[in-house]
């Protein structure tokens, strides 16, 4: 086959996933060294800040538990406020990791290897942040466990028709699978760290690595387990936010009672999750000097996903309006008009501009490869997606059927500081992760290095294995991958 033709037709022939001509050893060194060197002062500074955020959250929760839900700004029509908004926000962020690890894995998107580890870590920590809220948002926190189907002497089960209960199952399943998935992926890298370590550290890593030797049988089992978990996690990515959206969609509240919610929430979740990954990676790759592993191409791909899902979300916003008009249901119509022009119009337009308008800049290649610009946009998207949940939750509730009951919701300092505190929780975990665990999946990245290609050295190691491979596979009509 003509070489030129192969070049133009072959989408595999893209920029290398790892730049800087790194060897296997370089990868191991770059990633492992961060967990092995003396802890930098800056880390302590950041960790101290995060820890005070966490303490703030704990203090606010203690204040809430001691005094009651009244310390929040909720009122009669608006029974859900910051707590639920924050819950949905964090669960949404928790979508990116598993999507990157599982779905992109199944679709053989190899660029995922650079970011999957940290994205999964982010997922787990975000879900932990989310899980804080269902527990504390109830009025009687000490009996929140009644939501679980625990056999008891009263033969009293939860009410299985309630979407809140589905939530309990969906989110806890998602958390369990995500955590297992993440840990399984970590095992080979933990072994690498163990092999490089001495003393107590070696012992700890040894236990965590579960006796990994890198034997062929280990690799085979590992690959199988990883594939199975990816297959298990994939439907969860879609189901968890669908179920979260049922909390709203199943109700009779105008603005909530919408069949578009499940896909719209999933798209929104991916959108916000990717934005959060971009926010974190832009900083982390610089600080940890892994720019050659998490390259600008990776970031650009994520920005394309942001552009895509952002447009999907925007489409959903507009569809909702269309359906409100088309259905002829006056409550629905009022709810959406009220969003745009009512007392919460400021929140609505914040959401619209952050989620629909700003990501459109990513149509421009120059901008979506600009580190500063993408950082700013990703922050906007994070803000916008928080406001999306705020708009859905609060503006629908504050004016529903009977005008006599309409009211306005304003958060109290406890609401705000609890939310701020969850970032403390998140970054506490994330900084611990950055400090003690390999932030990039060493083994997986090695797998996508040009050197990893069995044919890499076929032509005296000219580094063009991909071309040759493709030519061969095209010729016999069979994928080599």
């Amino acid at each position: 086959m003509d070489k030129t033709l192969a070049h133009t037709a072959d989408f595999h022939d893209e920029a290398p996933l790892v730049t800087g001509n790194l060897s296997f050893h370089d990868i191991t060194e770059i990633v492992s060294s961060h967990t092995e060197k003396k802890t930098p002062l800056a880390w302590f500074g950041a960790f101290g800040l995060a820890l005070s955020g966490l303490m703030l959250m704990i203090t606010m929760i203690a204040y809430l538990v001691w005094n009651g839900t009244g310390v929040w700004g909720l009122n009669n029509p608006v029974g859900w406020g910051y707590a639920i908004v924050n819950f949905v926000f964090w669960v949404g962020i928790g979508h990116a990791g598993t999507l990157i690890s599982a779905i992109l894995f199944l679709f053989r998107q190899q660029w995922r290897t650079a970011i999957n580890r940290s994205a999964e870590a982010m997922t787990i920590f975000a879900v932990i942040c989310a899980l804080v809220f269902p527990g504390i948002h109830v009025g009687r926190i000490w009996v929140a466990y009644w939501m679980f189907p625990i056999p008891n002497q009263m033969a009293m089960w939860p009410q299985f028709k309630s979407p809140l209960l589905w939530d309990v199952f969906a989110v806890s399943t998602y958390f369990t699978i995500s955590a297992a998935f993440w840990y399984v992926g970590l095992v080979p890298d933990l072994a690498t760290l163990r092999d490089r370590a001495t003393g107590f550290r070696r012992k700890v890593m040894g236990v965590l690595a579960m006796g990994w030797t890198g034997a062929n049988r280990h690799w085979r089992n590992y690959e199988k387990a990883y594939l199975l978990l990816a297959a298990l996690a994939t439907p969860l990515v879609l189901s968890v936010h669908s179920v979260v959206s049922f909390d709203f969609a199943v109700s009779v509240v105008p603005g909530w009672h919408t069949t578009i919610f499940p896909p719209y929430f999933v798209a929104g979740a991916i959108f916000s999750g990717f934005a959060m990954v971009v926010t974190l990676m832009v900083v982390a790759r610089k600080v940890y000097g892994v720019e050659n592993i998490i390259t600008i191409d990776h970031l650009e791909k994520m920005n394309i996903v942001i552009l895509l899902t952002g447009s999907m979300v925007g489409f959903a916003y507009i569809t909702e309006f269309f359906i409100a008009w088309y259905s002829g249901v006056q409550y629905e119509q009022y709810a959406f008009t009220n969003r745009m022009f009512g007392p919460y119009a400021w929140a609505y337009w914040t959401m619209m501009s952050c989620n629909l308008f700003f990501p459109q800049f990513f149509w421009i290649k120059k901008l979506r490869r600009n580190i500063t610009f993408m950082f700013v946009i990703s922050i906007f998207v994070n803000i916008g997606m928080w406001f999306e949940r705020f708009v859905i939750t609060v503006t629908s509730l504050h004016r529903d059927y009977l005008p006599s009951s309409w009211d306005y919701y304003s958060p109290t300092f406890v609401d705000v500081l609890t939310f701020v505190g969850t970032f403390g929780l998140f970054f506490t975990f994330f900084l611990l992760f950055l400090r003690f665990l390999p932030i990039v999946a060493i083994s997986e990245v090695k797998g996508v290095l040009p050197e990893a290609n069995p044919h890499f050295y076929d032509h005296e190691g000219d580094g063009h294995a991909a071309e040759h491979t493709v030519s061969v596979s095209s010729a016999d009509g069979n994928s080599a991958h």
Partner: protein, 1027 residues
């Protein structure tokens, strides 16, 4: 507190000159301090909690009440509290006993039936056998039980600000000189025994000047006096009325003394179904009252010009010859006059209490001229006091200034507060004896203050509004040992010897029976009233010269400038209910304001005066307006209310109190919000709430207004999110459906037209999902014993006035907590039933002159309840008898149910409102209803405790439940009987009959939630010529 006879004997024998042992010098000298503490085992405060009744007292009181439960008719003058050694025969633990009694209120005895649990009076209903109640009440009767348990009540006799004792006061009373010149200021009373005691008092002292100060003034009586020559009382029989003209009279509002019978009569006159002809109500008023909301034709007019309107109307009917002034040729006059003329004896004119006597005289003249007397209005010979209270008080002030008064006695009144000008004179009298419930403004200046008993703690008597003699019987021993009734104090002052209320009342009544006294007495105590006694109805002719004379001082000219109208408050009245937290938190029926009084004016007037109010983050933030009337001025926050007369400001009395409470200020840790979890933490609850407007001595005055401040937050239960297009939304959503009587005759099913429709398909195209597997069809439900009864409610919007008696009745029945101004402003009020107020413009009504409608809204008990489906722990479920119930101990407080309730009737306990409640307030709780703790949802239960009580009785008696046997609290109180409740599975039940009405509709029926509460649309009967 336990009275040991050994110690007590010192008191009894203190004057005997025999040798005795003494413990200390103070005992030997018998100082007042010693006397106070000698009755107790330990020094004061050592063994008792600092506030309210102690556990020990509580048990004593329970014991005392138990004793009484068995001894209703033969209570001994002094009870010694002993435990039961034998249970009284008819006593069953936990089963309430009902006692008929009377509530002395504003110069009449209001017949009540009091529910008592284990000797603890708890709920007040109307006496169903008494013609003046027929079982219904206004909110004042309902709320009065909380006054008994008011933790801020004065508990001890004090002298010159020092704690003293009843014994000391007795000695003082005995030692009073017969030559003392005494002034007595008293609440108007209808008590015969009290009148006798007064006569004794007047005999004992050389000079007694007795002034009755009626709440709300006595202009009506003075007007009738002018017209007929004696202090008559107008009593209206509106049931047969065809044309009703209200001249600034809120005759169905709770501040009207006859509101209960008026509302009942009015609702009977609105019976539009069948061939029933419907009355027409004209209202001419400056404010927007609930009566105005019921009006068929309503005219906004300054109160100051109503006299002219009345004169013109009287003139048109040939009932007045004087000058009619500015409204002589008002477009309404001819229409109203011709309607009244043709109505003849079925017409009636009513006048508001704050209108001058001349207008009342004119109304009497009109009513006489059209032949209404004896038909729709009766003038009763109630011997009303017609003295000019203001003039008398001024004369007393002069006397005091001249040093001609030695003793002033205030009985249950608070002149220092209600007549600020009188305060200076009051302080100059040597002996100032005050009897009252609180350490109020007058008590703080008095030399002797005597705690007054609540009417549930005392014996008394009186006459009802129509003149039926009745009895006040105690249901509980006074919560505070020192408390005595006004009657007992007057009797003591009159004779110098202590006499007990029981003996006094019995001695009066001895003369009232011809036969066996004990037998008659027993019957009266049992029934609460003495049958047969009524006031004589007077059929005299009107003295035109009297009317002219009464009108002489009344201006009929156009009023220029800003008028200020001061009325009694529909919640706290003149301030006598100010310390009643239920009343403070009751939304004003029309403005929905709580915990404040406001200066109402319409948007135009506010704009003209440069005043504004805005909604900021759901809170109503208003300017403060300064009103100058002559030398007096008040500063009060602004409230903009549509529909008021231009240039008219409406104020209400009763706020700005200063009561001193003995309770300690609650101190909490910085991390503890319990200072907001109930309203009792910061001293007396009414102190500092609102502004006193008593310095404006004239009820209708001319004022100048200026802005005195801004940024005042007013808490209301409804205007958190009000927008102008609200009325349109209400109409579009079919929330409140109404039609004129012509429209109704033409299309009796007019409510169907108000039903919102989907634009493309019919509702029939949306079948109910899973209808056949509906939970109500499951075996567990259908086989239940309760399943035979399916409870439902119908609320007739044609007769509901929105008076709010139901709200207080519900609060009292269902232990609904009070949360205070701050929490209400955050939208956390707890009422289970509310009255939604909407303004309607369009269809002839404009934004400046809108209609106002009120709609009571309890839980709708949906058959497809959206709340039930979303609860993750099954804490809200359907009962087999078709009601939606909260299982409080299962509730974890996700608030999902409240979000999903389309009617927003669910209420969440954001804090533990009961954690710090004073013990006495807890005594007002219903033992059959769970006191909800923090973090759980609550809502109307259809008074399930009452349903179950009847279930139980019927089950024991092995019989079906009769229709009307279960009565909900709201239904029971409702003066206009707009609420029907019963078994909808029985086609013959009253509620099922109502459900067959053409006017029936369900709120938000298109949601297919199938509410068990339905509404009957309102019919209006406007004069077509006055559209």
């Amino acid at each position: 507190m336990i009275e040991l006879p050994v110690i007590e004997s010192f008191d009894a024998n203190e004057d005997t000159p025999r040798s005795r042992f003494w413990r200390s010098v103070s005992q030997y000298e018998n100082s007042s301090e010693f006397k106070r503490i000698s009755g107790e085992e330990f020094i004061p405060g050592a063994s008792n909690a600092p506030e309210g009744a102690t556990r020990r007292q509580f048990i004593q009181l329970m014991g005392a009440s138990m004793a009484m439960a068995g001894l209703t008719a033969c209570r001994k003058p002094l009870e010694h509290i002993v435990p039961f050694s034998h249970m009284p025969e008819d006593r069953v633990e936990g089963v309430p006993v009902f006692y008929a009694s009377g509530m002395p209120f504003r110069g009449s005895l209001h017949p009540v039936l009091v529910e008592s649990y284990d000797g603890r009076p708890r709920k007040i209903e109307g006496n169903p056998e008494h013609l003046d109640s027929l079982g219904t009440t206004s909110q004042y009767q309902q709320a009065s039980v909380l006054n008994l348990y008011d933790p801020d009540r004065m508990s001890q006799v004090s002298h010159n600000g020092e704690a003293s004792s009843w014994g000391a006061f007795k000695s003082f009373a005995a030692s009073m000189s017969a030559s003392s010149r005494v002034v007595v200021l008293a609440e108007t009373s209808s008590s015969m025994t009290f009148a006798a005691a007064r006569r004794n008092l007047e005999q004992r002292f050389s000079s007694v000047r007795w002034v009755n100060c009626p709440i709300g003034g006595n202009e009506a009586a003075r007007g009738l006096n002018a017209a007929f020559g004696s202090g008559l009382r107008a009593s209206h029989q509106l049931a047969g009325a065809k044309v009703i003209v209200s001249l600034d009279a809120d005759f169905m509002g709770s501040v009207d003394q006859d509101s209960v019978s008026n509302a009942r009569g009015f609702s009977a006159s609105r019976n539009v179904e069948g061939t029933g002809e419907m009355s027409r109500l004209y209202v001419v008023e400056s404010g927007y009252s609930i009566t105005g909301g019921m009006a068929d034709n309503r005219l906004r007019m300054k109160s100051a010009e109503v006299a002219s309107f009345a004169a013109a109307l009287a003139k048109a009917l040939g009932a007045y010859a004087g000058d009619a002034g500015v409204h002589a040729s008002h477009a309404w006059i001819e229409e109203v006059a011709s309607d009244l003329r043709s109505a003849g004896s079925t017409g009636v004119v009513l006048v508001g209490d704050h209108q001058p006597a001349g207008v009342h005289a004119l109304a009497a003249s009109i009513n006489t001229a059209i032949g209404a007397v004896g038909s729709t209005v009766q003038y009763l010979d109630a011997n009303e006091d017609v003295s000019d209270v203001h003039a008398e008080l001024e004369a007393i002030e002069a006397d005091i200034a001249a040093g001609n008064v030695d003793v002033i006695v205030t009985l249950g009144l608070n002149p220092v507060y209600s007549h600020p000008g009188f305060a200076a004179a009051y302080a100059k009298v040597d002996e100032r004896i005050h009897v009252g419930m609180h350490k109020d403004e007058t008590a703080q200046q008095a030399t002797w203050t005597i705690p007054q008993t609540h009417f549930l703690e005392e014996w008394g008597d009186g006459t009802s509004r129509s003149g039926v003699h009745g009895i006040v019987q105690p249901l509980i021993a006074p919560l505070y040992d020192d408390a005595h009734s006004v009657l007992e104090v007057v009797a003591l002052l009159g004779s110098g010897i202590e006499e007990f209320g029981y003996d006094l009342v019995r001695s009066t009544w001895r003369s009232m029976f011809s036969g066996d006294f004990e037998k008659g007495w027993r019957k009266v105590v049992h029934d609460g009233f003495h049958e047969g006694s009524r006031f004589r109805s007077v059929n005299g002719s009107v003295s035109q010269s009297g009317v002219q004379a009464a009108m002489a001082g009344v201006s009929v000219a156009a009023h220029t400038g800003l008028e200020v109208v001061t009325r009694l408050d529909p919640k706290v009245l003149d301030g006598s209910f100010a310390n009643n937290v239920w009343m403070q938190e009751l939304p004003d029926p029309t403005t929905k304001v709580v915990w404040d009084n406001v200066a109402q004016m319409n948007p135009k007037t506010a704009e003209k005066l440069g005043l504004s109010a805005k909604l900021d983050g759901g809170k109503y933030i208003a300017d403060i307006v300064k009103l100058d009337v002559g030398s007096a001025s008040v500063e009060i926050p602004l409230w903009i209310q549509p529909g008021l007369a231009d240039d008219s400001v409406q104020l209400t009395k009763g706020y700005g109190r200063n009561i001193v409470s003995d309770r300690a200020i609650r101190k909490t840790n910085f991390f503890d919000t319990s200072e907001v979890t109930d309203v009792y933490g910061q001293g007396a609850v009414s102190t500092g709430v609102g502004q006193s407007v008593n310095s404006l001595s004239s009820l209708i005055a001319t004022a100048t207004a200026s802005k005195a401040g801004s940024g005042f937050m007013i808490a209301s239960t409804q205007d958190h999110g009000a927008i102008q297009e609200e009325g349109e939304i209400v109409k579009k959503r079919g929330l409140f459906r109404q039609a004129t009587v012509e429209e109704y005759r033409a299309n009796p099913k007019f409510v169907a037209a108000g039903e919102p429709k989907p634009i493309r398909e019919d509702w029939a195209d949306y079948p109910t999902l899973w209808e056949n597997s509906h939970p109500s069809k499951t075996e567990e439900i259908t086989s239940s014993k309760y399943h035979d009864y399916q409870w439902g409610m119908v609320i007739d919007l044609n007769t509901c006035t929105g008076c709010s008696a139901c709200i207080i009745a519900c609060q009292s029945e269902n232990n609904i907590q009070v949360v205070g101004k701050d929490q209400v402003s955050r939208g956390r009020d707890m009422h289970w039933i509310r009255t939604d107020r909407y303004f309607v413009s369009g269809d002839g009504a404009t934004f400046d002159d809108p209609q106002m409608v009120l709609q009571p809204l309890p839980c709708q008990h949906c058959e497809n309840a959206p709340c039930e489906q979303v609860c993750p722990v099954a804490a809200t479920v359907h009962s087999p008898d078709g009601t939606n119930q909260m299982i409080y101990n299962r509730c974890i407080g996700t608030r999902y149910c409240a979000n999903n309730c389309p009617y927003k009737v669910r209420r969440f306990n954001f804090y533990n409102w009961t954690k710090t409640l004073p013990e006495t307030v807890q005594m007002a709780h219903n033992p059959n209803v769970t006191v909800r703790s923090r973090g759980v949802m609550e809502k109307c239960s259809f008074c399930i405790q009452r349903v179950r009580a009847v279930n139980k009785t019927a089950n024991i008696e092995n019989r079906p439940i009769e229709d009307g046997e279960v009565v909900t609290a709201c239904q029971q109180a409702c003066p206009s009987q707009a609420i029907s409740f019963g078994n909808v599975a029985d086609p013959n039940s009253a509620v099922s009959q109502k459900r067959t009405s053409d006017r029936r509709y369900e709120l938000l029926a298109e949601l297919n939630v199938k509410p068990r509460v339905s509404y009957l649309g309102r019919i209006r009967n406007p004069n077509p010529n006055l559209a």
